[in-house]
Symmetry: C2
Subunit: 264 residues, 2 copies
Amino acid sequence: MGKVVSIANQKGGVGKTTTAINLSACISALEKKVLVIDIDPQANTTSGLGLNKKEIKENNEPTIYDLLLTDEEDIEDYSPYIRKTKLKYLDVIPSESDLAGAEIELASVFGREMKLKIHIDRLKDIYDYIFIDCPPSLGLLTVNSFVASDSVLIPIQTEYFALEGLADLLNTIKIIQKRLNKKLTIEGILLTMFDSRVKLAKQVANEIKEWFGDKVYNTIIPKNVRLAEAPSHGKPIILYDILSTGAESYMKLAKEFLRRNRDY
Amino acid sequence: MGKVVSIANQKGGVGKTTTAINLSACISALEKKVLVIDIDPQANTTSGLGLNKKEIKENNEPTIYDLLLTDEEDIEDYSPYIRKTKLKYLDVIPSESDLAGAEIELASVFGREMKLKIHIDRLKDIYDYIFIDCPPSLGLLTVNSFVASDSVLIPIQTEYFALEGLADLLNTIKIIQKRLNKKLTIEGILLTMFDSRVKLAKQVANEIKEWFGDKVYNTIIPKNVRLAEAPSHGKPIILYDILSTGAESYMKLAKEFLRRNRDY
Ligand SMILES: Nc1ncnc2c1ncn2[C@@H]1O[C@H](COP(=O)(O)OP(=O)(O)OP(=O)(O)O)[C@@H](O)[C@H]1O
Ligand SMILES: Nc1ncnc2c1ncn2[C@@H]1O[C@H](COP(=O)(O)OP(=O)(O)OP(=O)(O)O)[C@@H](O)[C@H]1O
Ligand SMILES: [Mg+2]
Ligand SMILES: [Mg+2]
């Protein structure tokens, strides 16, 4: 029975997509079956894993947008929605820019918060782990992801605005736990883009560790330009530059993630 | 008659808030009357200019959220919504986290795209410039900002995902121009967090200049940690560290912005 993890933080540019792509790639390299779902209209996980966004749009290929607007009774087979990647044990359900309109389209639909969960519950048996890359907001798409998930992994940049937004994120998680998904927990807090030479980064990191204790991963992702270059080649870091500190730190994170789930 | 400029890019973490705070602060230092409106539920511009988000929430003080849900006939006087800052010619209309629910609340309201414009049109005569800090999405809040604006200033980080998102942003601006606001133009493209030692940054910068020509500001904002420190002190960079490269570059941008508007 697969575990479903949302990768979320409404603060923009904190490393959600970079973590979704590279943590799922590294875990699949450890021979676990992984599905990553892109529920951000920017579709950065989609292109970062080598899929062609233009082709998906021109050929009208099915994406997460179509899935959210379809009832589960109407789907026999999910394979048209699931794409292969350059890694054997990693699949992806892509996103597209039309998804930006989904929040308004879903706003008045019955059971609008459950539109993702009804499909994920049918995919859980095929994968060991399902990761969902969320958009930078606490709107209906992120709420759908939280309702469908077992836990939330929170990437956080060690800067002031990122720290400030945590209270709102934790609030939203509490509300979802109370009303829509009792079992939702925090999977962990991941410090990203960390530059140990910057005083502010160390201060913010210390504050987060004080606040969250052992929920904070021991693995810290350093600033590493190879991580920013890899998406333009459509590859996760372990295929773009396996010797980089970026690849090393995400591999370390994958092992820590599995150990915390007693699966390594 | 004041000019209204949206500061927008659906890509997260590209410097929208940092630009909204510091460009408006620098222009007000050149003795133009400036209003900055925070329409992002994260309310980073609100706290970055020294307002206390907790107090606003506890005392139930009026914010942009209340304004969007109120008709213009019901407002005699806008002063309860407008706050003073540490700079004489800079005012701010704050945001709050409840705004995250506004997109769903407004979705079925008549004239939902015009909810901001009806108020801004009554404020235009009091200010020389009105800047609007947008959230990282192309949803109803950003659409409201585009409908209320004369132009859009696009901060962009010199990285791959930021470049990839530009096509969707330009598409949205075109749709708004066609259907809701014929006069909307692009104010300019601002390169932010630029590190001249990074090859990727130079490559992306060159691509943007080829694409946008003289729409790209000559002023480039360098990576400068003082810009990331200033918000935790609730001050724009010119009050936090006037001698920093961050302060220098935003002051240069303010003059270029005014020159392009034949106002300097
Ligand atoms: N550890 C790192 N070192 C260097 N660059 C990084 C690192 N992590 C992410 N980046 C780069 O920083 C930018 C922001 O990261 P990313 O897009 O993953 O964040 P995000 O939270 O998904 O953003 P959004 O809020 O827009 O969805 C990207 O250009 C990415 O390539
Ligand atoms: N030129 C710069 N040099 C160094 N740090 C910067 C610079 N500009 C912005 N930052 C920092 O980078 C982070 C992202 O910037 P900012 O919050 O302004 O982006 P944004 O586009 O408003 O993000 P969001 O999409 O979440 O609204 C912040 O922590 C900010 O302090
Ligand atoms: Mg992302
Ligand atoms: Mg912002």
